[in-house]
């Protein structure tokens, strides 16, 4: 690490620096006459990752439980933190839409139950045409429920 963690104000006065150590000896050049000061150990060069190869494997190999749609890989997370609301639900209407679809589907099925009683009643009374109209109503209601089921977002 050759720079400070915090940027320095260029207008600030230059802080006192320690004396610069002389350049290290280069093979093939004559040694300077002055004796060299003892060298400080250099920190190892920074490399991302770990010295252990098993920790450098891809994420999906190290953590099979993490799916492509988990956490930061989830394409729905488009604007999470930092800031207010970071880490919370970023699209609450998505959950609300699912609840609304389920509620609508349940309402339609209740209507179908009522319609089936009408179909049975009309059939037993001999009104076959009305019974067929009721059967058509039941089929259309099923198509509505099918649509509510199939408009699910395809990103999961």
């Amino acid at each position: 690490m050759t720079e400070d963690a915090f940027p320095r104000d260029p207008e600030a006065p230059e802080p006192a620096r320690p004396p610069v150590a002389p350049a290290p000896a280069v093979p093939g050049t004559p040694a300077p006459s002055a004796p060299a000061a003892p060298k400080a150990p250099r920190p190892p060069a920074y490399t991302p990752g770990s010295a252990q190869p098993r920790l450098n494997r891809p994420v999906h190999e190290r953590y099979p439980q993490i799916r492509p749609t988990s956490g930061y890989g989830d394409p729905r997370i488009t604007h999470t933190g930092p800031g207010p609301g970071a880490g919370t639900e970023q699209e609450p209407e998505r959950s609300s839409k699912l609840t609304a679809r389920l509620t609508l589907a349940l309402t339609v099925v209740i209507g179908q139950l009522w319609g089936l009683t009408i179909v049975v009643d009309e059939w037993m009374a001999g009104n076959t045409g009305t019974a067929w109209w009721g059967a058509g109503f039941l089929c259309l209601s099923f198509l509505v429920v099918l649509g509510l089921w199939l408009i699910d977002p395809k990103d999961r």
């Binding site: 699912l98 609840t99 679809r101 389920l102 589907a105 349940l106 339609v108 099925v109 179908q112 139950l113 319609g115 089936l116 009683t117 179909v119 049975v120 009643d121 059939w123 037993m124 009374a125 001999g126 076959t128 019974a131 067929w132 009721g134 059967a135 109503f137 039941l138 089929c139 209601s141 099923f142 429920v145 099918l146 509510l148 089921w149 699910d152």
Partner: protein, 219 residues
């Protein structure tokens, strides 16, 4: 029990482990998601649609549904006033009841309740002139018209058209559905096979030929 309470000693480790497993199972999040419920609801909806089409196609048996016109059947030699008679007409599975009211009116109905298919009984002590009574859910039908007067049945009883001979014998000659008059039911059943009787009844479209029957209809 809060998490800070001291744990009681477990004298029986197997039962304790079973209790812990039960607690884990109860405390676990439900594995059925809203999407699963939506799929279940869609499946139920499809089943209801198929059921409606099946009903309209005729999967349910109606009283009197048979191929051709029903046979004429003698059900009793005599039926005194205030009495009833259980019989089966026109098929062996079509339960029916014949009732003679105190004023001499002869009436016949399906004995299968239109609510949940319990047996309908004649109770002459109920009401002003007797009632047809379903004991399962207190369904009550008018003895003169077969219409629902109380209880949960959704429609009136199908009718069995009865006639009485001059010697007092009672005959069943046809059926009528719920809400259908006896004449409409007879015209529907006799229109093609027995045009002479249909003509006598004044059915629309009946041919003018045929001989007059000797029976007197008293339904």
């Amino acid at each position: 029990m809060s998490v800070t309470d001291p744990q009681p000693p477990a004298p029986d480790p197997p039962s304790d482990a079973a209790q812990e497993a039960l607690h884990d199972r109860i405390a676990a999040d439900s594995l059925t998601t809203r999407r699963d419920y939506l799929r279940i609801v869609a499946t139920v909806s499809g089943g209801l649609a198929v059921g409606g089409v099946a009903v309209a196609s005729g999967i349910l048996h109606r009283h009197g549904d048979s191929d051709g016109s029903p046979e004429v059947k003698k059900i009793a030699d005599v039926l005194p006033p205030g009495e009833s008679l259980a019989f089966r007409y026109p098929g062996s599975e079509d339960r029916a009841v014949a009732v003679r009211l105190e004023d001499g009116t002869l009436a016949g109905y399906s004995a299968v309740c239109t609510h949940l298919a319990c047996a309908v009984l004649w109770r002459k002590e109920r009401g002003s002139e007797g009632e047809l009574y379903c004991p399962c859910h207190e369904g009550i039908f008018d003895a003169r018209t077969g219409e629902v007067t109380a209880g949960p049945p959704p429609r009136g009883l199908p009718k069995v058209v009865l006639v009485e001979e001059a010697d007092g014998s009672v005959w069943a000659i046809g059926t009528a559905r719920s809400g259908e008059s006896a004449r409409e039911g007879l015209c529907r059943q006799l229109g093609d096979d027995r045009p002479e009787l249909a003509d006598r009844l004044g059915c629309p479209g009946a041919s003018a030929r045929g001989t007059a029957p000797e029976r007197s209809e008293r339904t």
